[in-house]
Amino acid sequence: MKRREFIEKTAASTALLSLGLSLSSFETNEIKHLTVLHTNDVHSHIDPFPADDPRNPNKGGVSRRAALIETIRKENPNVLLLDAGDIFQGTPYFNYYGGELEFKLMSMMKYDASTIGNHDFDNGLDGLYAQMPHASFEFICSNYDFKNTIMNGLVKPYKIFNKNGIKVGVFGLGIELDGLVDKKMYKETVYNNPVEIAQDITQLLKKEEKCDLVICLSHLGYKYKEDATKICDLKLAELTQNIDLIIGGHTHTFLDKPTIVKNKAGENVLVNQVGCYGINLGRIDFYFDKNKSHTNQGKSIIV
């Protein structure tokens, strides 16, 4: 009987305790802070530009970027570090080592994920595959179907990161390969319509998976003046909903500040890109709370 009494008491107190805890966790309105850091089109620029470079003297460099990221991590450990593709090609580091250093350094800086840019095919699918063991971060691309290639299973269509209780859904979009990348490089990789894919994935991430934040890593390009029909980040933002942030690449666009675009549902979407070659690091800070009364007030965006 003593054993039963013990079980009853323990069960009761556990139940009460859990009840108390779960109630109390709803009473406090804790504000959560997530820092999204991002790069794009680094193109194998591991060393800073030399001091006599006519365009970007003394700019960039992985070692300095790592230090900057570390400083930010000390300030707020809740960091999501992302890249929007074209990690490869641009300096002899790539020609000599095929991207090994790029992936290893990104792993050392604790990148969470990257999408795939057209230049990441520059050594073919085999060249990309060969470097995969050097990357401890995720590769995310939703509209390239690698099913019939050597890369099958190595690239995720999306990934949900739990950052200190915040559910962040990240998906990726790649640019049309035909005409841009030699077929012998991308082989049987299938390019799917980015807008259609984005609509499906965002529905899944926001409605079914109930992500608090949805980020699109895009290598579609910011905008095409000469071809207004070509899909780009600004258009993608307008044509979709449930995306909070589009981190772009490909066009090497330097923006003074992130662009705010109204999406299909009339909500604000942030579109950002930070040029190229690791000259800049993008930083977007998100503040969250659970207070329901905020839901309809909207959010303040300071850029």
Binding site: P92, D212, N280, L281, D289
Partner: protein, 259 residues
């Protein structure tokens, strides 16, 4: 069954607990974004180095630098792409080298000869400075990964190519062909390998894969009847050539003349 009764109290409590637990855990727990701040942080010399990263890169950097600084040849004068109106010494050298090295591959593979080489002026990304020529020089002149390709072009389309050159007024690299521009801006005396252009003949033209795909609006290349990718990067063509020669010859011949 009697024994179960004794558990009733516990069971009741357990059910209440479960119910409450599920009510709370099933209720939407979503966080709402209240504020977003975006900015761009420049990476400059003001940022510190990361010793761990520096130490990791150093052996790779040292190896590349040692290799890139390897002296391959000697250049007696600076070759520059801004040296002429219709041809430049560096452009002509590049076209000569591509024709010569490309022919080694093309002859071995296809048992045919390349007739001429035509590249783009914009593809030359640096000068070839006087003094020691290193692998780095080749990387600077030719940073892109373009392959050398050979296209089979009809004589008509060679004529289109000549008209393109006259219209563009740029000193594009050219080898294996010469012609004269008349006062009314039309071509005459077009010679390929020293023989007059035959518009019915098929010629083999070496160029890079970027142009072969119609880059720089070189649409005449899209009309090629056959295409051979030599799988030979232009930069490697250059490096292999530098390794072969001791002193770089400076091409001074006139390939395009104006009346």
């Amino acid at each position: 069954m009697v024994k179960l009764k004794k558990y009733n109290g516990f069971l009741k409590l357990f059910v209440i607990f479960l119910t409450l637990f599920f009510i709370f855990s099933c209720s939407p727990k979503n966080y709402n974004v209240t504020k977003i701040e975006g900015k761009q942080l420049p990476v400059t010399e003001k940022d510190n180095q990361t010793p761990e990263i520096e130490n990791f890169i150093k052996p790779f950097r040292d190896h590349i630098n040692k290799d890139l600084d390897n002296v391959l040849a000697y250049c007696p004068e600076t070759l520059d792409k801004s040296t002429g109106k219709w041809q430049t010494n560096i452009g002509n050298l590049l076209a000569d080298v591509c024709l010569q090295k490309g022919n080694q591959v093309f002859r071995a593979r296809e048992k045919k000869d390349i007739d001429l080489c035509f590249l783009n002026h914009g593809g030359i990304r640096a000068i070839l400075p006087v003094g020691n020529v290193t692998t780095r020089t080749a990387f600077e002149i030719m940073p892109f990964e373009n392959n050398l390709v050979v296209l089979a072009l009809k004589g008509d389309h060679i004529l289109e190519m000549v008209n393109y050159m006259i219209k563009e007024k740029k000193p594009h690299p050219l080898a294996g062909m010469t012609f004269t521009i008349t006062r009314d801006n039309s071509p005459k005396n077009i010679l390929i390998q020293g023989k007059l252009l035959d518009t019915n003949k098929t010629y083999y033209v070496a160029t890079n894969d970027y142009l072969a795909n119609g880059g720089d609006s070189m649409n005449f290349f899209l009309k090629a009847v056959q295409k051979f990718d030599l799988n030979y990067k232009l930069r490697n063509v250059l490096i292999d050539y530098f390794k072969e020669v001791d002193t770089i010859p400076v091409p001074k011949d006139i390939r395009i003349t104006e009346e």
